[in-house]
Amino acid sequence: MNRLETYEQVVGHQEITRLRYLAQGLRGARVVHVNSTRTGGGVAEILSWMVPLMRELGIDAHWEVITGPPDFYRVTKAIHNNLQGLPVPLKDEDLQLHRDVNRDNAEKLALEADIVIVHDPQPIFLPEFTPKNRVKRWVWRCHVDASRPTRRVWKHLESAINRYDAAIFHMAAFTRPLPCPMFLIPPSIDPLSDKNCPLPEDERIETLRRLNVDPDRPLLLQVSRFDRFKDPIGVIQAYRLVKPYYPDLQLCLAGGPADDDPEGPEVLREVMEHAGSDRDLIVLMLPPNSHREINALQRSATIVLQKSLREGFGLTVTEALWKGKPVIGGACGGITLQVHDYHTGFLVYSPEGAAYRIRYLLRYAEKRQRMGRTGHEFVREHFLLTRHLRDYMIMLMCVTQKDKARIPTPFAA
């Protein structure tokens, strides 16, 4: 059985038929994805299933990764933060390093393709340094909220973006006027991956014990990188506001390192300081491949939190909903597409708001279960990888077609 047939058991025959039909128009097209890491973070996870599935559908898909010195990742992390509106100082030589590493990679990477999809700002200058005849179409995939970037970084990136034939954003609120069509494609999860597949009960229990989580007591969980935008300190504050009412309550903050995130250790230190000596507050720095551990934690949670202050899409929310958990999420970014008050969880705006909703859901078990069921079906319909793949194929068809002018650009509108 190939991978698509396996997914058919989850998403149904119609969805797979739809994919095969759409793929006919793209058979043999060479599509290259480029990002900055093979492990850690949502982009690498998406590419690890998308590329093989595209190949299975007859698309000649490949995945290239740009590399650079350690300083490059510090600079691109700062650019990433600035793109999301958090001012982080950058020197002129930092921006020059960004361009130089892109120039070096343009020579090294196998970029000959009908379409190259560049993910996030790290490899964004590749079109400038790639000979024109090697790539027919360039598409920039932005995975973060780029609606309010700092001016300096936007000016730095704008010259690169102008060379693209199309851009993709998660949602309209994340966009800025660009001189190319801006497709809207929310990301997705893989229901059969180690992180999302059903787990044997004994494995789940054994994993919890190994991670020092009590399987018999209520558990709050936030899974995310140790990043200030994820507000781990706010989560601890919310937990402490609820703890007097539910003394059995546990909080687990689980994250992992990513190759392209040098700020993680510093934020982790801050979290550990706030956690203090509370034995019911478990902070886990898990290795990048701890997918089954994350799976076990999410399946064991009573309530999942994602109290972000800024968020790209929030795939951890999708994962939790898929596992039938109500989610209390910060009202930002893609979380607002997934968390709908009283249907799949609650949107909150403060640690106090999170604490209030935690108490509410701990009080009403039946409401938790009903929200969990609703969330699972909501994800099946909108946020599984098959929908994501379908959106990509439709985008590829639109970009390669000669009448692409039918997708208006802001400046043509």
């Binding site: 739809r18 006027p177 069509p181």
Partner: protein, 225 residues
């Protein structure tokens, strides 16, 4: 029994390529300006294709403009007036655009100040391109169509009802096909008269199932809604 004189019903499916146009509205004046100037695909998306994106039975109103005016803008009267506009009664988007602009301008005309929404609650304008395709499924009898309704995708329902009205201006695909079968004219008429303007796609499916159950009452033909 299949009527050999009638072509089988071809089940189609569709998907949307959604795109941003880089504009958002935070005031009623900006909405009026947008309605007058955005590409037709944006009007079409916010007035018709938004039905494809409704998952929960959350919404009182059937289009994005009415929802935004009622909610973030707090203009309840205008929300009600926009909700009543039936986009499928217009032969083209130009006519729909004119009616929308008239309603919004008339409302704005009588206000002392221009209403604004709070930051973060802007209406982000989106357009879409509909890509339709043949599923390969063929239905040869009205009974087989009745049996198929519960399992057709929501997108197929949208294509054969909403999009069919948009294409033809006079009918959905189901009733257009059914009326070619002698003895099923009443069933066709009943389906055509479903006021889908007020239904999301799950509700539409339930309504279709009820109509088929009423007209084809043979036991077991149509499973429960």
């Amino acid at each position: 029994m299949a009527d050999n004189r009638v072509e089988p019903f071809e089940v189609k499916d569709c998907s949307l390529a959604r795109f941003a146009v880089g504009r958002s509205c935070s005031s009623l004046r900006e909405l009026l300006d947008a309605i007058r100037t955005v590409p037709e695909a944006v009007i079409e998306h916010h007035m018709m294709r938004c039905a494809l994106e409704d998952h929960f039975e959350l919404y009182e109103f059937p289009n994005d403009f009415a929802r935004w005016c009622w909610g973030p803008l707090g203009e309840h009267v205008l929300g009600e007036r926009l909700a009543l506009i039936d986009p499928y009664r217009h032969r083209d988007i130009a006519g729909l655009r004119t009616e929308l602009a008239n309603v919004v301008e008339d409302h704005l005309w009588h206000l002392d100040r221009v209403p604004y929404c709070r930051p973060g609650l802007e209406l982000h304008l989106v357009g879409s391109r509909l890509v339709s395709y043949d599923t390969g499924e063929r239905i040869t009898t009205p009974v087989a169509l009745a049996e198929a309704i519960p399992r057709l995708s929501r997108r197929s329902l949208f294509y054969h009802v909403h999009e069919a009205w948009r294409r033809s201006g006079r009918s959905d695909d189901f009733s257009a096909w059914l009326e070619k079968h002698p003895g099923h004219e009443q069933l066709a008429q009943r389906i055509r008269s479903i006021d889908f303007h007020f239904l999301n796609l799950s509700q539409l499916r339930r309504e279709l199932i009820e109509v088929f159950r009423e007209y084809l009452p043979e036991k077991g033909v149509v499973p429960p809604a």
